[in-house]
Symmetry: D2
Amino acid sequence: MAADGGFAAAHLRAFIERIERLEEEKRALLGDIKEIYGEAKANGFAPKIMRQVVRLRKMDTSERQEQEALIDVYLKALIDTPPPSALAAE
Amino acid sequence: MAADGGFAAAHLRAFIERIERLEEEKRALLGDIKEIYGEAKANGFAPKIMRQVVRLRKMDTSERQEQEALIDVYLKALIDTPPPSALAAE
Amino acid sequence: MAADGGFAAAHLRAFIERIERLEEEKRALLGDIKEIYGEAKANGFAPKIMRQVVRLRKMDTSERQEQEALIDVYLKALIDTPPPSALAAE
Amino acid sequence: MAADGGFAAAHLRAFIERIERLEEEKRALLGDIKEIYGEAKANGFAPKIMRQVVRLRKMDTSERQEQEALIDVYLKALIDTPPPSALAAE
DNA sequence: TCGCCTGATAGTTGCC
DNA sequence: GGCAACTATCAGGCGA
């Protein structure tokens, strides 16, 4: 790669530049999102809860439903086997 | 730290050794868990589903319950606002 | 909040919608970045190294060198304490 | 599986219980490790550096140097391509 | 078996 | 200054 007259280096530069450009955009986007949570908080909403809500709404629409039935079967088989964490509640 | 006659170095060594020892144990534990999933698979169970089940059982017993009510309120407020991903399903 | 005639709910909906819209954009951006790393890989570059490079370029040079120096001090303090993995080599 | 008189369910329960037990141990182990880093910090060591040191000691020396060399090559190829952050300094 | 992708872990940052 | 949330990296599991 070093013996190619710098062509590879130029290639690499192009990739890195594109990536860094997109990362800048991403950074801006993250800032915008954060700002909205800030506004919401100023209006009496709980950002933490809102984040969970956004997350849940994402999950619910995924292909998870397809496997839901099987998960349910497994969970039901364990219905009288409480998870260990239940002990911590004492 | 360099001018302490190596006392700090000995101290650091002790900490690192303890950590590396525990990491070894952790590694072994992960191996055991993996093995069990393998056994289960050999018995006709789906490891992937089992992992999700374990995960769900963990979540259900966490402090999430405390915030569950509030999450519910938020979700209900959004009941006629479908998430964007619904559009992708077309 | 529940007793406000739904005004708060409408407000919440507006916030969530804005957030979910931006998250869609973010998702797209992440996909683009990933794609570029994929292209780079197909051209013989190592994505893992590229990521480190992008990260290093974000840091101030002096800060980076300071960290490396400290790492070196720690490593040297452990010079006669072989890591556990050496044992596995037997 | 459902028509087996619950034998499979019992089997599944056994697997899940073993897994959850081991996960508890893992959780405890992680807590212990975290605790040691805390102690070290209280004694004037930098946990962040320690973690990197532990990580480096896990890698083979030659492998590590190989990576560093490659990072250097990449960085040098980008030497006249300033990162975007330089623009922010203006 | 390889590549992809999701889930786990470490680092960073902002809040309290 | 410590704590907790969020982001990014990494490794293991899954599917082709």
